[in-house]
């Protein structure tokens, strides 16, 4: 059974210019122990998807889905209390800007302690106190913080970004979750820190044997350990599947463009080659195209594209496109 | 017990305490009475003042006089003097004093002897004899005695024996006994004065008073309250209440509301029409014909009010009928003269100053008063028998005066400040009045308009007219009422011509009280008395 099973998840909100569908029938499956990367430009709805799963979406937004299952249980049918029993215990989340996502008025120790399961510490009051403290130190060690005594007493604003993200991770894994959702954990970081965090995440995924849903902006930032990858554009799923397959033989023009863009950034281009970026800009919520939302920017688009494409499957990958690339020779 | 449970217990008991249905009126409220007075007393010695507020708070409560005036019998009755005779053709009065009368026993003074002639001599010499050690305490100023000329009339007060006193007059005076029966001629304790003198605390005599009256002084907090306790060994029938409180409430509306909520048992100067419209059966409004007059006095020592034509013109400018209607709600009579029509000396005078703005304008022009002439109207800040709302009256007059081209400004201070500044003659004109201390018509003339009263500060017009004084002197020198009536008539004629003040109204005197209050009577003369006060609370 899939740990997370999402079928046709749709999120709609009332904007100043009418109702907008910010996530359009997105499906995604995640197996236990799997590292899954969700790639999309800003505004693609990847964070919304994560927030919908974890249940911190703005309550005024409408969330509908054919299926939003966690371990075989329907998340949408749960009471808030039941939901909370899963959120933060079985699944945890870390965010892009760790400093903003830590309470500025609690110390690191307080915030980690809060996340430690009540059952982990027992005994008298003093015992519990000492227990908690050692647990906090342990957690800090696990995320690679050595000088735990100083860090524990610190307030978030006293931490560097890397340390703060490590603390966030420590809070997230305190409950030994089955799934860690990492929402662009390294996007705004400097390269060395970025590397540290990425390695930490990969290591934890293995050592804690937990699934990771990593959300990134570009293909290049996905974890080396990633088994599966999904690409979102403007609230629509473009393609998903086995990492190897998708990256090597993309079916969707969008995937293709994303891969080329990251190559452009990382590898030297041959002279005279065409710039592999998509023309135009990401549409605003107000002027969302109908049908396949990539349509206006897609070099291969045809009339048909005003109708949303159905899912198609090919080996280890699924894609939503009328005119897929790299089709095997018939 | 844990901290939380302590808090919970405290909170519940607090709630229970404040919500518990009151089954019984607590004892202090059963045998106590609250009178909501309209202002602060200036002192606790009525000898030193003329203000009714001070008299109310002191004279009948703390002190007794040698003789009292019985308004029903229209005669003088015995008080601290059991009987008295006029000797030497009315130039010497002999008073036999009551025995076994005790002074108040308080935490600041314990009397060792009964009241006797020494106390009478001391009390009279305080205001009579400028060499007396206590004369200058508190300023050495005794306006009532100065205004009525009593300090000139009495030449000597002699102790004949411990219980007999002689008072010797310079000449016979028909108003002497009447003045003696007023609220001002009270008896102080010589023993207390001596004690204070030896402690070098003389000024305390008027701040922590000792008298023989039905109540003794407990505490005074300026602007808030005066507390009294019953004098247990009072020499005649005393009150049935234990405690008396004067709750000082200058605002008439608040006084009325407090009566309604039961925070006051008795209030003076009620807003009669308001109370009647409330129509509550537990509140009684009592009224009494009272010899009083409200008037608008011009400061005749300040130009242009030194010119009789200006005073007359301004008198024509005021619509007094409108004042009677809106300020008194018709519960008063338009005053033709300062002497109320109920007085035996009153004669039918003709109303001279009918409302006539045309004439007023013309006269002002003749007197050389320019248009837009600016003047002040001082309005008393408290309610009085004769004037329920002087400020509002002033507002009415303001618009009347604007009509004739006079720009009037209304001035009002706190009552004691007001009186102090008034006696320094800082005013242009003032809306004030007078109510009689005794039944003698002289009480309306000499304290208000004689030259002596200018010096004593109770002549609000600062008007000194020798011819007028002459007439008054003649009137008190004779005991022939017909002749006196004639003299007062001519005095009024002179007044009407000179117009140092414009009489406005003679008002009814009102008092409102809860119906369970008994024995608080409205005397026609002088201040309120709680000597027989009691409460009959409905059975629970």
């Amino acid at each position: 059974m899939d740990l997370l099973d999402i079928r046709n998840l749709t999120i709609e909100m009332d904007g100043p210019h009418g109702r907008v569908r910010v996530l359009d029938k997105v499906s995604l499956q995640l197996k236990e122990g799997e590292v899954h990367s969700l790639v999309g430009e800003s505004g693609s709805g990847k964070s919304l998807l994560a927030k919908a799963v974890i249940g911190v979406l703005n309550p005024l937004w409408d969330v509908t889905a054919d299926r939003l299952w966690w371990n075989g249980k329907d998340l949408l049918a749960m009471t808030p209390k039941q939901r909370r029993a899963i959120t933060g215990r079985d699944m945890a989340m870390i965010f892009q800007d760790p400093l903003a996502y830590l309470d500025p008025n609690s110390t690191v120790a307080e915030q980690i302690t809060e996340a430690i399961p009540a059952g982990d510490v027992t005994g008298t009051f003093m015992h519990r106190r000492i227990d908690r403290k050692t647990r906090v130190a342990q957690l800090l060690h696990r995320v690679g913080i050595r000088d735990h005594d100083a860090i524990m007493k610190s307030y978030p604003y006293e931490l560097s970004e890397g340390i703060a993200q490590k603390v966030s991770i420590a809070i997230a894994i305190a409950h030994r979750p089955k799934l860690l959702i990492a929402d662009e954990p390294t996007t705004a970081m400097e390269p060395s820190t970025k590397d540290q965090i990425q390695r930490l995440l990969g290591k934890l995924a293995v050592s804690q044997s937990m699934s990771v849903l990593l959300i990134t902006q570009d293909v290049a930032s996905i974890l080396p350990a990633t088994q599966r990858v999904s690409l979102l554009y403007c609230g629509q799923m473009m393609e998903h599947g086995d990492t190897e397959t998708v990256l090597n033989r993309p079916a969707h023009p969008y995937t293709d463009a994303m891969i080329k863009m990251s190559l452009q950034a990382h590898a030297e281009l041959e002279p005279k080659s065409k710039l592999p970026s998509l023309p135009g800009a990401v549409p605003t919520l107000r002027h969302m195209p109908i049908g396949c939302r990539l349509g206006p920017r897609c070099p291969y688009a045809q009339k048909q594209c005003v109708k949303a494409p159905l899912v198609r499957h090919r080996d280890e990958q699924s894609y939503y496109c009328h005119f897929p690339l790299n089709e095997p020779e018939a | 017990m844990s901290k939380q449970s302590i808090i919970v217990t405290a909170l519940t008991s607090f709630l229970l305490l404040s919500c518990s249905e009151q089954t019984q009126v607590p004892e202090p409220l059963q045998d106590g009475l609250i009178y909501c007075s309209e202002g602060n007393p200036e002192s606790f010695n009525p000898q030193r003042v003329t203000s009714g507020t001070t008299v109310d708070a002191t004279a009948s409560q703390l002190y007794d006089r040698l003789i009292d005036y019985d308004a029903v019998q229209q005669s003088f009755v015995s008080a601290l003097a059991t009987d008295w005779q006029a000797l030497d053709n009315g130039q010497r009065y002999r008073f036999h004093l009551r025995r076994n009368v005790t002074f108040h026993d308080t935490d600041y003074f314990t009397p060792s002897r009964y009241f006797n002639a020494d106390d009478v001599v001391f009390s009279f010499r305080r205001w009579l004899d400028s060499d007396a050690p206590y004369h200058s305490v508190g300023g050495g100023f005794y306006p009532f005695f100065a205004a009525t000329g009593l300090d000139q009339l009495i030449s000597q007060v002699q102790k004949v024996d411990p219980y007999t006193v002689d008072i010797i007059l310079t000449h016979p005076d028909s108003s002497f006994l009447a003045n003696l029966a007023t609220d001002f001629a009270i008896i102080l304790s010589k023993e207390y004065a001596d004690q204070l003198a030896s402690n070098r605390q003389r000024e305390l005599i008027d701040k922590r008073p000792i008298g023989t009256g039905p109540f003794k002084f407990v505490a005074f907090k300026k602007d808030y309250y005066i507390r009294y306790q019953r004098h247990e060994s009072y020499w005649r029938q005393g009150p049935s209440i234990e405690r008396l409180v004067f709750s000082i409430t200058p605002n008439a509306n608040k006084r009325m509301l407090k009566l309604v909520t039961g925070e006051c048992d008795v209030i003076p100067y009620p807003l009669v029409s308001e109370l009647k419209s409330l129509n509550r059966k537990e509140i009684e409004v009592r009224s009494e014909v009272s010899p009083n007059v409200s008037f608008w006095a011009f400061n005749t020592q300040r130009p242009p009010f030194d010119d009789p034509r200006v005073r007359q013109a301004l008198s024509y400018a005021i619509n007094r009928e409108a004042i009677i209607d809106t300020i008194y709600y018709g519960n008063a009579e338009l005053a033709e003269s300062i002497l109320p029509p109920t007085s035996w000396a009153s004669s039918d005078a003709e109303l001279k100053y009918h409302y006539n703005p045309e004439k007023a304008r013309k006269m002002l022009r003749e007197a050389g008063i320019p248009r837009g002439f600016k003047m002040d109207i001082w309005a008393i800040p408290v309610q009085r028998v004769y004037n329920p709302n002087a400020r509002r009256m002033a507002e009415l007059m303001q618009s009347d005066l604007a009509e004739v081209g006079v720009d009037a400004r209304i001035i009002s201070y706190e009552w004691n400040t007001f009186r102090r500044r008034l006696s320094r003659s800082e005013h242009d004109t003032v809306l004030i009045g007078w109510y009689a201390d005794n039944a003698d018509p002289d009480n309306f003339f000499r304290p208000l308009l004689s030259c002596a009263a200018v010096a004593s500060g109770s002549n609000r017009a600062n008007w000194c007219h020798n011819g007028f004084d002459q007439i008054l002197y003649q009137a008190i020198s004779t005991t022939d009422n017909a002749q006196r009536k004639q003299l007062y008539h001519s005095a009024q004629q002179l007044l009407m011509q000179q117009q140092p003040l414009l009489p406005i109204a003679h008002s009814m005197r009102y008092q409102a009280q809860r119906e369970y209050v008994k024995g608080v009577e409205l005397p026609p003369y002088g201040g309120i008395s709680f000597r027989l006060a009691g409460k009959e609370l409905p059975a629970q």
Binding site: K81, R84, S106, A172 | K258
Partner: protein, 342 residues
């Protein structure tokens, strides 16, 4: 923290000093003789010349100010011009009376404003929020003196639940020792303490209600807006993503952060109460410093005006200091010195 504390104290005393310069110069600005305004001793009184010397009026203004400062640090504010009593001696009970009223009202304002504000924020955009917000706006806009009158008419006159004026029915004969009626009752040897206490509490209801109406509504609005803002902060979302209950979220994470920004407003709210104190005490005949100040202004009793104004304003400064110190200690992020100040 020490450095933070030192700078706060420095600015506090500097402000106090400026305040004393202001009250000192008031003596010249008030009409009449500066010496009389300062000491309450009139020209012509026997002590006048001696005072002239002791107040250094034969010397420079600087000397006079130093002298004035020496006097007021010993609580010597001179004599009242209208009663001749020592101002500070009279002031003691007046100030305690006001303190009782203000503290109770402040407590009530906080008890109403904070929870209701958080409640409204919790139900942001629901009808409950709109209802609370509208009532808060109404309560905030009613002139205090009108509200007092309406409350009197309703609670005292129409349904006769509550008395109108004073601290307690004077028949209970509770001597005013401290000024605080509750303490006075407990200190007194009256046999009817319980009944007196009940009476005093009933007397407290209307003034406290009136005095706390505006501050509580203001506090409510500030708290609500601040809470809404905080609830939209990332760290609250993160906390929610950790599966914390709404209750824990509100009290453990939102409340401290709301307080951090609401606390500085407390001084302002306290100041507003000081201003309204004058009106409330006047209406309900409370023997407090506000009513005393008003009377002094009408009677032009300058020593009293000076003393009461200095004390009221000084108290606001003291509260400001306390709030700053607490805030710096509880919310170290606000110690701006870490960033070098602005």
């Amino acid at each position: 923290m020490t450095r933070y504390l030192m700078t706060r104290l420095f600015y506090f005393f500097l402000a106090l000093l400026v305040l004393s310069v202001v009250t000192f110069s008031l003596n010249w600005l008030f009409p009449g003789d500066p010496l009389t305004n300062m000491s309450g001793i009139r020209d012509g009184q026997a002590a006048y010349n001696a005072t002239l010397e002791s107040r250094a009026f034969d010397s420079t203004v600087i000397q006079q100010y130093v002298n004035y400062l020496a006097h007021i640090t010993q609580f010597d504010w001179g004599l009242s011009l209208s009663t001749g009593n020592d101002v500070w001696q009279d002031a003691a009970t007046y100030l305690v009376v006001s303190a009782e009223l203000v503290l109770l009202s402040f407590a009530l304002a906080v008890l109403i404003g904070l929870p209701l504000g958080m409640l409204a924020a919790n139900y942001f955009r629901h009808n409950l929020d709109k209802f609370i917000l509208t009532s808060a706006m109404t309560g905030y806009s009613i002139p205090v003196f009108w509200l007092a009158q309406l409350l009197i008419l309703l609670f005292a006159v129409q349904i006769e639940w509550l008395p109108i004026t004073g601290q307690i029915n004077p028949l209970y004969a509770i001597d005013s020792i401290t000024g605080s009626v509750i303490i006075d009752i407990l200190l007194s040897d009256s046999q009817y303490k319980l009944a007196a206490l009940q009476d005093a509490l009933l007397h407290l209801v209307l003034p406290v209600l009136t005095l706390s109406s505006l501050p509580s509504m203001l506090l409510l609005r500030i708290t609500r807006n601040q809470t809404i803002e905080v609830l939209q902060k990332p760290y609250v979302k993160a906390a929610r993503a950790r599966g914390l209950s709404q209750k824990r979220l509100l009290f453990k994470h939102a409340l401290p952060n709301v307080l951090q920004d609401v606390l500085p407003q407390m001084t302002f709210i306290f100041g507003l109460m000081m201003a309204n104190l004058v009106i409330v005490e006047h209406i309900f005949n409370w023997p407090g410093a506000g009513a005393w100040l008003l009377k002094a202004i009408i009677e032009r009793d300058y020593p009293i005006i000076q003393m009461v104004l200095f004390t009221l304003m000084g108290l606001i400064l003291v509260l400001n200091l306390l709030v700053e110190i607490y805030r710096g200690w509880r919310f170290p992020m606000t110690r701006e010195e870490r960033y070098g100040g602005y």
